[in-house]
Symmetry: C2
Subunit: 340 residues, 2 copies
């Protein structure tokens, strides 16, 4: 009569009965099969197939205290992340790396302080085993809170404030910037400007430092009129480039600290009637999908996003397993296209 009704899913008890063993034995098979005779294991596996049994994770989590899932946590206004293709690449990479471990990724966006509070409670309540923290800005209160609550965390990019207590994975920002500026100088440019990231972000600080060092090495004079601050947005890049053009009309190259900002810079240059790369060479940073959408295609510094996400997941899983926080710095690579 009730075959039409929604059948209750089979439990471990049904499997045990079917296999003719105790629930304990079924559980042992489920959890690695140690201390189980081959015959019992076979019987259990057959019973699982026959009944279509799937473990109830809530019950398991209740007793193990683990959720077997991980959060991908964004702690900035969403617009930034969704505008910037880097975000996609990172999210995709982490999703994939986690999937390989059969761990689902919980996407959590905490852009406002109210949201951050709510999410803190959510995470602290044991909903996830660890957090992949994506936030370019330092002094992030979330990181502090999470670390204090003993939640395993690994950040993308070096957290400027937190000291050594938090694990992170980052590209070698400074070295990447140096390579780009060397490339610009090698093509004979002499008035090389830069559009920086925000000064409270590792990319903002390190890429600028690399720029300055390389200028000095090349014997080019430092000129503060050649430095404009951006905010990693396309609009910010456009604004900064316009500023640069006004302050230093003789600029003949610019290193822009992100591809998205470089896209904006290109717009500003076009409006000003400057040809790229003939009049002004433009170098970006990231090698994000944004670099291909521009005209001309962007010469840029590739961040190894695949490796970054893989490493973030690896380190986080290690942290969850009890390992100490570690830092991973990955090398970048110059990608030559047409803009410089």
């Amino acid at each position: 009569m009730s075959t039409t009704g929604r059948r209750r899913p089979p439990t471990i008890h049904d499997v045990a009965r079917e296999a003719g063993v105790s629930r304990g034995t079924v559980s042992r098979v489920l959890n690695g099969g140690h201390h189980v005779s081959p015959a019992s294991a076979d019987a259990v596996n057959a019973a699982i197939r026959k009944t279509g049994y799937v473990v109830n994770r809530h019950a398991r989590s209740l007793i193990t205290g683990r959720s077997d899932s991980v959060a991908f946590l964004l702690t900035e206004p969403q617009e930034r992340f969704f505008e910037d293709p880097n975000f996609n690449v990172l999210l995709r990479g982490c999703t994939q790396a986690l999937a390989a471990h059969d761990i689902p990724l919980l996407l959590v966006i905490a852009g406002t302080e109210a949201e951050r509070r709510r999410i803190s409670r959510y995470i602290t309540a044991g909903h996830v085993d660890g957090v992949l923290l994506v936030s370019s800005h330092s002094g992030n209160p979330m990181a502090e809170r999470l670390v204090k609550a003993r939640i395993p965390v690994v950040a993308c990019g070096k957290p400027l404030g937190q000291g050594a207590r938090i694990a992170y994975v980052a590209a070698d920002d400074r070295d990447g910037a140096r390579e780009m500026v060397r490339h610009l100088a090698a093509s004979g440019r002499r008035r090389i400007a830069t559009v920086t990231g925000p000064p409270d972000t590792p990319g903002g600080v390190e890429r600028l430092a690399g720029y300055r060092e390389t200028l000095a090495e090349a014997g080019l004079p430092a000129d503060e009129r050649l430095v404009a601050e951006g905010d990693y947005s396309r609009a910010g890049g456009e604004r900064a480039m316009a500023e640069l053009l006004e302050r230093a009309p003789d600029v003949d190259a610019v290193f822009v600290a992100s591809d998205l900002m470089a896209q904006g810079a290109l717009t500003a240059l076009e409006r000003a009637g400057r040809r790229v790369p003939e009049d002004v060479a433009v170098g970006g940073f990231d090698d994000s999908p944004a670099a291909l959408g521009t005209r001309p295609p962007l010469t840029t510094i590739r961040q190894p996003w695949d490796r970054i996400s893989t490493e973030m997941v690896r380190v986080l899983l290690g942290r969850i397993a009890g390992e100490d926080p570690s830092a991973v710095i990955l090398p970048t690579e110059l990608v030559r296209r047409d803009s410089a």
Copy 2:
């Protein structure tokens, strides 16, 4: 001695003791406060604050059979989704709409058949209460499986195969296409081509239908050389436009069924030395962020993504609460910029 160790989080039992009531009463306060005296409720709330109690969701889910979370499920190769900015907008909208209900979003990508199988099991195991299904192609085996397993599902875009059994939210594709083609014709274009979406997607079918209808209404002859098939990717759009240029060199306008493909079409036109909009007017579809990154900025049809995501969440929550599947069709809007 043990204050340094990781303190076990407070349970409902601790709260009950603190408040001087039974665990049942605490639970009642937690679940709406019905059948609880104000005095007890106050005592419980005070105890919750004092102990910092947060409900253990695993225990709750075990008994209620609900997870209080929802999956955002992508069932296509990831590249497509991450390449296409529409995806971002949708994901962001759903995340926000869900956050308003305090429901976390689980991002799940099932691009390969193996992944789909794994994810099916995952979802069927009761890990989520419902699924926001994002997949442009029809005949999606996932949808079938989920519906069969009685999982509440709402699709983005009308599922071509599934009939009336699955709820969906979509923009009015046909009407949007008609408006764009009318706009093109109104500007005096006579050789209006189209780059379509895949023929097994609702957008591929409906937007092409709208194109044909409007051409007929405008008294323009149907010419199959003016129809090229795209795949919603930038590269596909570029390819299709090149094809069009070869087959019908006198083309003076093109309606491209997605902004991303339009971006590709622009590249092909530029390579062919055609000016936009002077020689060829280009109209897109979506009003995705891709439409702003082009030169010239794209005239396009806006899909009301905010409303689409809000509605998807609303319908899904309704389904979870037991409502019947419903379909929501939202109006589009012509956005005039410089490309047409």
